[in-house]
């Protein structure tokens, strides 16, 4: 067993700033898969890039990074190029950003082969073989296509095929599945694992998802603020973390625990708060195609209930949420909210104001969901003034109080959104929604963009608020674990259709539909878990 990658006391930073990486040391040996986990901004990407000599411009570096004995921090351009061509490959996070959109897939694959002295035809042949190896069919056809004609999962396979072309000894992966659906992710992960095992490569795998790290790697490093806080065998680190931080991280990582699912609320004889029947939404695309984003959806949600909507990307979850809050008008079907049938047209301003007291929404992206120019206190106060008809100062007081309840300290009330962290912003967004005193709160992936620990906090907050305000909740997510924690009922969507719905416990424990089973089975399982994953 030889040492492929050895990072020793790597410190990286910009002058006059706190270092981004602080004495990071790690190593990867031949044939082993090593995970590097940590929250966003902890320095994972910086570390892995240093391995192939991609450093931020003008950054100050110290320590050593050696790949098969070559110090990539000091190596000449030519040596680095040789290293990249022969020994090391890297897979990036977003395949769509990583492959030049204006060139064909074949071009992308072949461009490194051409300077190995292969002819165009030979390069093409090798590319096709490589594509087949990563499980892509119709490989020949694919080589002539452009990236935008492929799905994300396919593209990531192309990327992997490209990385494997030069039979590298060391494979570096920077969150290669983050941009993908769970089901797609499962495929990619098993592909990577298979290839790594088959070729005996060393692999350094970056992720923020502990479950994923556990499902793929034998060893793990935990990174926090540019420092390695803990390392060791994956199983040891996850099952018996030594450090507080690691413990926190492990605890915050959502898992499906069926005994934790909230109780179902029964409203005896009462009307459901939200009821949909035959709800459809079709979009006319620019090229004359018609896209059915939501197809014949029907469900009810009782007052005080909590309904989770899960499904792959593009399955129509957000469309459903947007229909409920009247950001879209249904093409067909009926939607009843609080006993009122929704008219099939755009709402007038007055209607919208009334509706606002029934339903509110919190969006996914914490960076875009607040007005960049308005201090958060004022943003919430504006809602109070509109809906509670309060005066300027009274509204501001109410806003402060409400923000306090969602965990935003009084002194942050005058801050602009950009001065807040992602978690704080989502708290403000929640407060804004709650200021209208809605009965139903729709959360569209409201926690997906947050780090696990922050996500856990925000989920706690939502639970707390639900109880305090007696809210009914419609929770849109792709994460089954989150649903299991928050929702008593769940609704599984696929390609615009509701494939299955019912109590969360029942669906997770005993899915009736193939698709649901697939979804549940795609969740990464730790290597040490005996139970084989259902295929």
């Amino acid at each position: 067993m030889s040492r492929l990658l050895q990072i020793q006391d790597l410190t990286l930073g910009f002058p006059d700033k706190a270092p981004l990486l602080d004495t990071v040391s790690l190593h990867v040996d031949d044939g082993e898969a090593v995970a590097l986990v940590g929250e966003s901004g902890s320095g994972k990407s910086l570390t892995i890039r240093a391995a192939i000599g991609l450093l931020p411009e003008r950054a100050g570096v110290s320590g050593t990074v050696s790949v098969r004995g070559l110090d990539t921090l000091t190596a000449s351009r030519q040596r680095l190029m040789d290293l990249r061509r022969k020994d090391v490959s890297m897979i990036f996070q977003d395949p769509r950003a990583g492959i030049n959109p204006v060139r064909t897939v074949g071009d992308f694959l072949g461009e490194t082969l051409r300077f190995q002295g292969l002819s165009r035809a030979e390069a093409m042949e090798r590319s096709i073989t490589a594509l087949e190896q990563v499980g892509l069919r119709r490989a020949k056809e694919l080589t002539g296509q452009h990236p935008h004609q492929l799905s994300g999962g396919m593209l990531q396979r192309v990327m992997i095929a490209a990385a494997l072309l030069n039979s590298p000894k060391l494979l570096l992966c920077d969150e290669p599945t983050t941009a993908l659906d769970v089901t797609t992710q499962a495929g990619i992960v098993s592909l990577l694992r298979d290839q790594q095992q088959a070729r005996g490569m060393g692999m350094l795998f970056i992720t923020h998802d502990l479950n994923l790290a556990a499902s793929l790697c034998e060893r793990v490093y935990v990174l926090r603020n540019g420092r390695v806080v803990e390392q060791g065998a994956t199983r040891d680190v996850f099952l018996a973390p030594q450090q507080d931080y690691t413990r926190q991280l492990v605890n915050a990582t959502p898992a499906i625990e069926l005994d934790q699912v909230p109780e179902r609320v029964d409203v005896p004889g009462g009307q459901p708060l939200l009821a949909a029947a035959g709800l459809s939404k079709r979009y006319e695309l620019a090229r004359g195609e018609v896209l059915t984003a939501l197809d014949d959806a029907g469900f009810t949600l009782p007052e005080g209930g909590s309904l989770g909507v899960v499904g792959e990307s593009g399955s129509g979850k957000s469309t459903l949420a947007r229909l409920v809050v009247a950001l879209e008008t249904a093409t067909e079907g009926e939607l009843t909210l609080g006993g009122n049938r929704r008219p099939q047209r755009r709402l007038a301003a007055a209607e919208r104001k009334i509706l606002a007291k029934d339903v509110q929404i919190v969006f996914q992206d914490p960076y875009l969901s607040l007005d960049p120019r308005i201090p958060v206190g004022k943003a919430v106060a504006d809602v109070f003034r509109l809906h509670q008809h309060q005066g300027r100062s009274e509204a501001l007081d109410s806003a402060r109080e409400l923000l306090g309840r969602v965990g935003i300290a009084e002194d942050r009330c005058d801050a602009l959104p950009r001065a807040l962290s992602g978690g704080q912003r989502q708290r403000v967004a929640l407060a804004k929604a709650l200021a209208a005193r809605p009965r139903l709160l729709v959360l569209d992936e409201a926690t997906s963009a947050l780090d696990v620990s922050v996500q856990a906090q925000v989920l706690d907050l939502v639970e707390e608020l639900r109880d305090q305000f007696g809210l009914t909740i419609l929770f849109v997510t792709h994460d089954l674990a989150v649903v299991s924690r928050l929702c008593s009922e769940v609704l599984v969507m696929h390609q615009g259709r509701i494939v299955e719905q019912g109590p969360t416990v029942r669906i997770l424990a005993d899915p009736a539909e193939e698709y649901t089973r697939n979804l549940i089975g795609s969740r990464p399982r730790p290597l040490w878990d005996e139970e084989p994953a259902p295929a």
Partner: protein, 286 residues
């Protein structure tokens, strides 16, 4: 000829309000100085800009005349200061007019994505086909020489530059969750557009308008230079260059040099300002 700023890559509106770079400050100060001197020219100018002193023609810079005199013995500094009034007035009017009109049309086009939006888009495309200078010349051909016709024409010609930018910004902004949140919260659309969305666009649009100012200044100077714009004896930078070209033959460079220098410096300063604005506000463009 000119271009619209391109859309900021990401949620660029997050960051604005930062201060200018030293170069930006220099540009701002210089522009302010020029505007000040022009506005207060009647008070500050040492001479009547039209006073002809035939005994003192083409004098070099000296005690009596800080920048020298032209072929008629007129004081160049005074003419420059008075010329600034005409030279800056046109671009200012065009900038204000085209910004206001462009914002309104752009908001309408960007917000209503239906038929109105498409029609307005086509309208902008059509206007784009008429370069500002060409439209100004057409206006002059119709209504005669002077400043009024070209200013109106240029205002129209620059509307699509502002409008298209506004339209794309609004369309992008409209889809942002924070705007949708306003809708869901029940705020009235006109209020959201005018008091929440518009201010967020202003810096980027302002940057475009600032750049437009420079283009218009150069275009109007060119019109005056070819004798279609400001008519002598009204002092104007472009016209001053034209008037002083003859003196170049006799080796008297200064009468044409000063106005040329001022035009170049003002355009540079304004461009720097516009670029800094767009850089700082609209995400890294340059």
């Amino acid at each position: 000829m000119t271009l619209t700023l391109r859309l900021p890559q990401q949620a660029g509106l997050r960051r604005y309000g930062q201060l200018l770079s030293p170069l930006g400050w220099a540009a701002l100060l210089f522009t302010a100085l020029v505007v000040f001197l022009a506005v207060f020219a009647p008070v500050l100018a040492p001479y009547d800009p039209d006073y002809v002193d035939l005994n003192n023609v083409l004098a070099g810079p000296g005690a009596g005349h800080l920048l020298g005199t032209d072929a008629l013995g007129r004081d160049l500094l005074s003419r420059l200061m008075h010329g600034g009034r005409t030279a800056l007035l046109g671009p200012t009017l065009v900038m204000i007019g085209s910004t206001v009109l462009g914002l309104l049309l752009g908001l309408a086009a960007g917000w209503s994505q239906g038929l109105l939006g498409r029609l307005l888009s086509r309208f902008f495309d059509l206007l784009f086909a008429f370069p500002a200078l060409l439209l100004a010349m057409l206006a002059i051909a119709l209504f005669g020489k002077g400043l009024t016709a070209p200013i109106i024409a240029m205002t129209i010609a620059y509307v699509p530059y502002v409008a298209r930018l506004t339209q794309s910004l609004v369309a992008a902004e409209r889809g942002r969750p924070y705007v949708q949140a306003y809708q869901v919260l029940g705020f009235r659309t006109p209020w959201v557009v005018l008091s929440r969305v518009l201010p967020n666009l202003m810096p980027t649009v302002g940057a475009q308008s600032t750049l437009n100012f420079g283009y218009v200044l150069a275009d109007l100077a060119a019109l005056s230079f070819i004798g279609l714009g400001v008519q002598p004896p009204t002092s104007d930078w472009g016209a001053m260059i034209e008037e002083s070209r003859g003196a170049l033959l006799g080796g008297h460079l200064l009468p044409a040099f000063w106005p040329a220098l001022v035009i170049v410096l003002v355009v540079v300063a304004v461009n720097i300002l516009g670029e800094e604005l767009s850089d700082r506000i609209g995400g890294k463009l340059a």
